[in-house]
Subunit: 329 residues, 2 copies
């Protein structure tokens, strides 16, 4: 693939997921807030891992999942993120390339181990995440593949990057590169706690740099500190060109400058694990957007991709999303 | 768990599986014989991995899967095997302990990396395996947990161990320890190519040391170099006390000194991946045997456990087998 014709470039934490079924009491015992992501250090990662049941390892990372989703839809995507040269890092790099995503970052020869996210899936199919960022912490402006960003119609970044100062700098630099090349910049708010941690600077970022915003109900309400989804919706309209606000089984609201679409969730026979729902919604939406679909259809493709990912364990598609969209759009 | 009351101790290669969906032409391109296990070196492992699609990592290893199955059935089991002190080794050790299996071997501080088995699952649900043994190669008599073997009603070993001279020595030493303690010794023939490689010494081993033998149709026919399953069945009767001969969807034949049982396969709605079918059959059978069930019921428990494992991706149970047996036996 030449980078001349990329649809989406994603920047995010390069992470391998460690997924396990868990009972609610394990969350309490490990002091993890259900449905959210907690950043942990290596010692706490060891403690949680020791307390977890048998697990399955699968490449993850929010923006990385989104880029794999774009590729699975038949789109051309690239990823920027940081692993260390170790066994976990080799798994991440193999899987993203094998999925057809361009990934040019070399693994760090030393420093912290590659990042891992322990994902506890409770019997209600909700996922609770504890992330040891590891080598992903080292992502900085020097890791940006400038050509990739200039080549992509949209550069997409996860809000989680805002937790580390060098990644935040990389984030802002990437937005500048993209805009200078006449491209669009997109952000997902990632997690309500992530919004809590960075509310003020997220507000500045969004009004100054973001063209396409993704958020779920809890995140957008936290951003604008309101109890009303409708009030948050009115505010975000003034701050970016496009916003896609997801509401789980209630579907999503997609806002453009002059249009509002209410898009239903796609049907799922049985929800097995909600891990990756937001990531794959963004994949479908951005694939549609960069392939020239209207905003309503972007929302529908997002819903179809999200429905596939929650029908099974893990945040990477099991079947080519391209075929699903061809059958269901 | 005290080792005083173990039902089964397993000895085998400690391996993490790298599972991926694959098309038939990848097998040809990588020169892998469909449905079998090929031993590969690290360089070939790198080549196959680079050619594979995105994968999922999950602890595996034939006898290790069997011990996890025994634990999932509510039985008390232990495992003896060798990993290196690395990320893959840590995954193996975590998963087997988290499944409730006693595992006392320390990881090797140096030497080859922990073993991996690349498993290519074709659209017909058949699995083809390429194994880089890595640290598992280092297993020798010094790694035997003597107390564990003496404590277990049955010591179970995989035929794959026979590929490495020190593991073969460990194998024979373990059989001596078990018999000296008045215990039973069990073997699975593992793979038809493994039988080809070691036919003569397997024949000596079986008549001299094995009480309970597991083999599938291809393996037992290769062992006795006959084209007839029935002829192989007549021969094996004279060589061990109990033999369980599996025939995929045709069920299994269980032979005792004075009894023969033909046991049907348990129904499966849809076969997703045959990885682990033999391992979990042995788990069910040995759990039943050491819990005091008759041979026919041992065969039925084996069939129920095998049916669970082939209904999903991977060789470790997704649901507690204990509950399935309670519902279906």
């Amino acid at each position: 693939m030449t980078q001349q014709d990329l649809q989406v470039a994603g920047i995010g934490n390069a992470i391998v997921d460690v997924l396990s079924h868990a009972e609610e009491d394990l969350l309490q015992q490990q002091d993890l807030a259900k449905g959210t992501m907690t950043l942990i250090d290596e010692a706490r990662a060891e403690r949680i891992y020791a307390a977890m049941g048998p697990a399955v390892e699968m490449s993850g990372g929010s923006a990385a999942n989104t880029m794999v989703g774009v590729a699975s839809l038949g789109g051309r995507s690239g990823f920027i993120g940081k692993v260390r040269q170790d066994q976990i890092g080799a798994i991440f790099a193999h899987d993203i390339r094998a999925a057809g995503v361009a990934f040019t970052n070399e693994p760090a020869p030393d420093g912290p181990a590659s990042g891992r996210c322990m994902i506890l899936v409770t019997p209600d199919a909700q996922r609770t995440m504890a992330t040891f960022l590891g080598a992903a912490v080292g992502l900085g402006p020097e890791d940006l593949d400038r050509q990739m960003i200039e080549a992509a119609q949209v550069t997409y970044m996860e809000g989680y990057l805002w937790d580390m100062p060098p990644a935040k700098e990389a984030f802002l630099e990437a937005a500048r590169i993209a805009h200078a090349a006449g491209r669009k910049v997109s952000l997902t708010l990632s997690d309500p706690f992530c919004v809590e941690r960075h509310r003020e600077s997220f507000l500045d970022l969004i009004s100054g740099h973001i063209d396409i915003l993704f958020a779920n109900e809890a995140e957008i309400m936290s951003l604008y500190q309101t109890d009303s989804f409708d009030a948050a919706l009115q505010q975000v309209r003034d701050h970016c060109e496009v916003a896609a606000l997801t509401r789980s089984e209630k579907g999503a609201v997609v806002l453009g400058r002059e249009e509002v679409h209410v898009v239903d969730a796609a049907p799922v026979a049985k929800v097995a694990d909600t891990t990756g729902a937001g990531d794959l919604y963004a994949a479908g939406f951005l694939y549609g957007y960069t392939a020239g679909y209207g905003l309503y259809d972007c929302g529908r493709i997002g819903a179809i991709a999200a429905a596939e990912i929650i029908s099974h364990f893990g945040a990477r598609p099991e079947a080519p999303l391209k075929d699903l969209v061809a059958a269901r759009l």
